[in-house]
């Protein structure tokens, strides 16, 4: 070895290396969390005993080999050409382009960890550049918990290829063979002397060299990772603590005016007569703009209504309050969510379309010694990110530039091009930081509004959605009714299982009249059920959409896991067995599953079932870990109960145990939660833990309080608290997370903690009180205690 191995820097140790005469490493603030495996440092040079001064290289003075096009434009995941992702400046700053949207999942940090590790960049020199929406980056839809999964390989490749080119540049300068040179933390050293060349110095040369082909790029052995799978601190948090950073709602451009919009209360309702005299009399209101009525399909269209333009947001809001508008009923005028719920429950009682089938469920059920039936209902939900949608648009002739908190800047660009009929090449979409998103901001309707209004008023416009707008005019999580039936034998073993699910599909937002649950949605917790009984059938029933239906953190997994995992506990109760033991028995022996072999069309989160099979051993493993963490089986104080649920979603496996305490008056608290997650290779354990806590509590908030209802086609709720969100005093008192060590391919972490939360909670309430929750929400917007259903034996 040609460089001194100076040993290991312990986590958080700022007292320098074990060797006191060794190199001084300054500024460990960001690197302090990195456990260096064997930190390569050019010992002699940095130890201060050499007069070596790095020469400034003039790239033109070197005779460089000719370079052809990049051979990395089409690797697994897309284009891995280093120049697309990495720019190294003369001062050594490493600018990494993040093409995914930052919404609190710490994607800036995780993407940078991947690139910087293979690049051997010094973390302290890393900066992020947020990409605009453009096809050259491949998929930018920050949705589906797949930023890491889609990009892990190609970003490693990009970093490693860039590093090789920097090493080659140094080798050319030194007239050595590249094998005599090695890159370490932003510098290249060599085996002949102690000279080093910094990346900033080499970057211009490296940029002219041939990009290596994939087979010639060496990725690090995972044991040599210095950033990947380490507790690297967030790149955004320090800014956040000072109120810095630009969210969509913070965008400010010269000459900008502010708009809010009065939208028709019903989806596809129309704007009738408008009187805006009073609005125009509000100080600061400049004018009003009538937007075209929307018609099906909803797509990402503006919803119509009247925009009020003001010199500040408050003026626009006051102006809107003063508008007098006759809204005209549209096709959804008759929608009443209470009546609709009853219809859906009736649909769930009738046989539906078979989506997966094993054995003969009808025969199995009629031969069973015990039959169990249960119906579950879950309402519409609103994503309600803390930052409501906001977008700014500016026209320059026929060119349009937008700044907005969007999860998918490419889809935004496409929607603008389609709906405003302009050439995509004339549209630039800048993604800002997102103040939460949870699926709401994958729908860029608010950007379309800004573009329409800016065109009309011929000035840059920022459209801000108020909380009322966000709650009343969303793309809602679908309402659902489900029926489950099971047959048990004399020993209480489940032999037959029927699951029927009814919900308006998200596709209803995109094709009018579409009322059939799609394979994608069915594959979120229904057709992929991992249970091991001889007779199994999954069916769907149709339901029409009357609101815009959209994705919400973990999507159909929420209601499917609620029903399936609650039902598993109900079966355990009927069989007189422990919930956890019975759950393990339902999952059965270790095996891999492919619902496709049983008639399901199963997308598996767009991953191949070979690369990401459904592995029951991983499910059982997290069940065992979480129950050990929670000390499952311990004697509980009166009014306390533990509940468990396990669910695979977004290719990750999570088991959650919730402890509840219910007072005799029905007041509920959550003393503790224990969660075990197997997400394959994890890029950042601390941010994974944060997503486990956040995803779980998001699910608890919805299950306890969340409900969007509609009357006469219009959403009833309007702001906190009629749309209620869980608060600090209602949060769990303790929350432990264990991440399963795994070398498997990376899976999702942003969403999969949400689905098991609600059933684990409901199962805990059952164990605490004997009351079975089958309808959500459990408490609702105005309650302060549990409204428990009548006790019944299942």
């Amino acid at each position: 070895m040609f460089l001194h191995d100076i040993g290991i820097i312990p986590v958080g140790d700022k007292t320098q290396t074990p060797n006191s005469s060794g190199p001084k490493i300054t500024n460990l603030t960001r690197r302090g969390f990195v456990v260096g495996s064997s930190l390569f440092v050019v010992g002699v040079a940095l130890a201060g005993c050499s007069r070596y001064e790095e020469p400034k290289i003039d790239p033109d003075s070197l005779d460089l080999p000719a370079a052809g096009p990049s051979p990395l434009t089409n690797v697994k995941g897309g284009d891995a050409t280093p120049a697309l992702w990495i720019a190294i400046e003369e001062d050594g700053t490493v600018k990494i382009t993040c093409h995914r949207s930052e919404m609190g999942q710490q994607v800036w940090t995780s993407m940078a960890q991947i690139v910087a590790d293979e690049l051997e960049a010094d973390w302290d020199n890393v900066e992020i550049v947020q990409a605009i929406g453009h096809e050259r980056y491949g998929d930018q839809n920050t949705d589906g918990s797949r930023s890491v999964r889609y990009n892990f390989h190609r970003l490693r490749l990009a970093g490693a290829a860039m590093k090789q080119m920097l090493v080659e540049a140094a080798a050319i300068y030194w007239k050595m063979d590249p094998s005599e040179c090695e890159a370490t933390l932003g510098k290249v050293g060599n085996s002949q002397n102690s000279d080093t060349l910094s990346y900033g110095n080499l970057a211009k040369i490296a940029a002219k060299l041939q990009v290596p082909e994939e087979a010639k790029v060496t990725l690090k052995d995972p044991k040599d990772w210095r950033y990947i799978n380490k507790e690297i601190a967030s790149l955004t948090v320090p800014k956040i603590t000072r109120g810095e950073g630009t969210f969509g709602i913070d965008v400010d451009i010269p000459d900008m005016v502010y708009a809010v919009i009065a939208r028709p209360p019903q989806l596809f309702g129309k704007t009738g007569a408008v009187r805006d005299e009073k609005a125009l009399a509000v100080p600061g209101v400049m004018r009003t703009v009538k937007l075209p009525d929307a018609s099906p399909p909803a797509l990402f269209k503006a919803l119509g209504g009247v925009a009020v333009i003001g010199s500040d947001t408050w003026a626009a809001i006051q102006g809107r309050n003063a508008l007098e508008i006759n809204w005209v009923d549209g096709p959804n005028a008759g929608y009443d969510s209470e009546t609709f719920a009853e219809q859906m429950i009736q649909t769930a009682k009738r046989s539906g379309t078979v989506r997966r089938k094993r054995g003969d469920v009808a025969a199995g059920l009629s031969n069973a010694s015990k039959r169990v039936e249960a119906e579950y209902y879950a309402p519409h939900l609103s994503q309600s990110p803390m930052e409501p949608p906001a977008a700014t648009a500016r026209w320059d002739g026929d060119k349009l530039e937008c700044w907005a908190c969007v999860q998918d800047p490419q889809a935004t660009r496409q929607a603008l091009s389609d709906l405003l009929e302009i050439d995509k090449e004339n549209i630039t979409v800048n993604a800002t930081w997102l103040g939460g998103a949870f699926g709401r901001k994958s729908k860029p309707d608010f950007v379309v509004e800004a573009a329409l209004i800016a065109k009309e008023v011929d000035r840059p416009v920022k459209v801000t959605w108020t909380r009322e707008d966000e709650v009343r005019h969303g793309y809602y999580h679908s309402v659902s009714a489900q029926r489950l039936e099971a047959g048990l034998d004399e020993d209480g073993k489940c032999t037959s299982y029927l699951h029927r699910t009814v919900f308006p599909p998200i596709a209803s937002t995109f094709s009018p009249g579409m009322d059939v649950p799609t394979d994608g949605e069915m594959g979120l917790g229904a057709t992929d059920v991992p249970f091991n009984m001889p007779n199994l059938q999954v069916e769907s029933g149709n339901a029409k959409g009357h609101l815009r239906i959209g994705w919400l953190r973990s999507v159909s997994n929420i209601y499917h896991a609620f029903a399936v995992q609650s039902f598993a506990a109900e079966l355990a109760h009927v069989a007189g067995r422990d919930q956890k033991d019975y759950l393990l028995e339902l999952i059965g022996d270790a095996r891999t599953l492919d619902p496709g072999t049983e008639g399901a069309t199963y997308p598996n989160y767009d991953a191949s079932i070979e690369e990401y099979p459904i592995e029951t051993a991983r499910l059982s493993n997290v069940v065992n870990i979480a129950s050990e963490m929670a000390k499952w089986g311990r004697t509980m104080p009166s009014g306390h109960g533990l509940g468990i649920a396990v669910h695979r979603s977004f290719l990750s496996y999570i088991a959650t145990v919730v402890e509840v305490a219910v007072s005799p008056e029905g007041a509920l608290t959550i003393p503790g939660i224990w969660l075990a997650v197997d997400a394959g290779t994890v890029i950042n354990p601390r941010h994974t833990r944060a997503q486990m806590e956040g995803g779980t509590i998001y699910g608890l908030s919805n299950a306890l309080f969340g409900e969007i209802t509609a009357k006469n086609g219009a959403v009833v709720q309007d702001n906190f608290p009629s749309w209620r969100a869980l608060r600090m005093g209602e949060a769990p008192r303790a929350f432990e997370v264990q991440i399963v060590k795994s070398n498997s391919a990376p899976a999702g972490v942003g969403e999969p903690a949400t689905p098991p939360a609600a059933p684990a909670l409901a199962n805990a309430i059952f164990n605490a009180t004997g009351h079975r929750i089958r309808k959500l929400p459990i408490i609702g917007a105005s309650g302060s205690r549990l409204s428990l259903p009548a006790k019944e034996t299942a």
């Binding site: 969210f247 913070d250 601390r686 956040g694 949060a731």
Partner: protein
């Protein structure tokens, strides 16, 4: 109507309609966007600032009621409690998306200025007005307790 406000120790003269809440004066007029809008009706805490050291919802506080008051925002909050909160916030990576966190930091700082050793119940009482949809509550509680120790 011109009003002079003392914000983060500096006098600022703003020209905004009578009754315009401080929130929009900060954000739209002074371009101080660290203070956030979340509900507009004093329900979420995203807009929390300090007025004469008391946590205050900027979204329902008319700016013209604040002449002569000392206004502190996330951009300017300083001192022992604020430093401790910022440092434990960073050490624990408390924020996720960060949108609610200006309000959380302002509320937590005010709590520690009042009470240097808050119990769980004190934290619940002081922080339950601040909604975090990313649900960073566990980290916030941990970080407040650590900050109290640092004080």
């Amino acid at each position: 109507m011109a009003t002079t406000l003392n914000i983060n120790g500096k006098d600022e003269t703003v020209e905004a309609a009578a009754g315009t809440p401080l929130l929009w004066v900060l954000r739209d007029h002074l371009k101080m966007t660290g203070t956030k809008f979340g509900c507009g009706i004093a329900q979420c805490g995203a807009c929390t600032v300090h007025v004469d050291d008391t946590p205050t919802r900027a979204c329902i506080t008319p700016h013209d009621s604040l002449a002569g008051s000392k206004i502190t925002t996330i951009e300017g909050v300083a001192g022992g409690a604020a430093d401790a909160i910022r440092s434990t916030w960073i050490k624990n990576d408390v924020p996720q998306c960060g949108y609610c966190q200006s309000g959380q930091i302002m509320a937590a700082t005010a709590l520690l200025e009042e009470n240097s050793n808050p119990s769980d119940d004190d934290i619940d009482a002081a922080m339950s007005g601040n909604i975090c949809r990313c649900a960073t509550y566990m980290s916030i509680r941990r970080a407040i307790k650590e900050a109290a120790k640092e004080l």
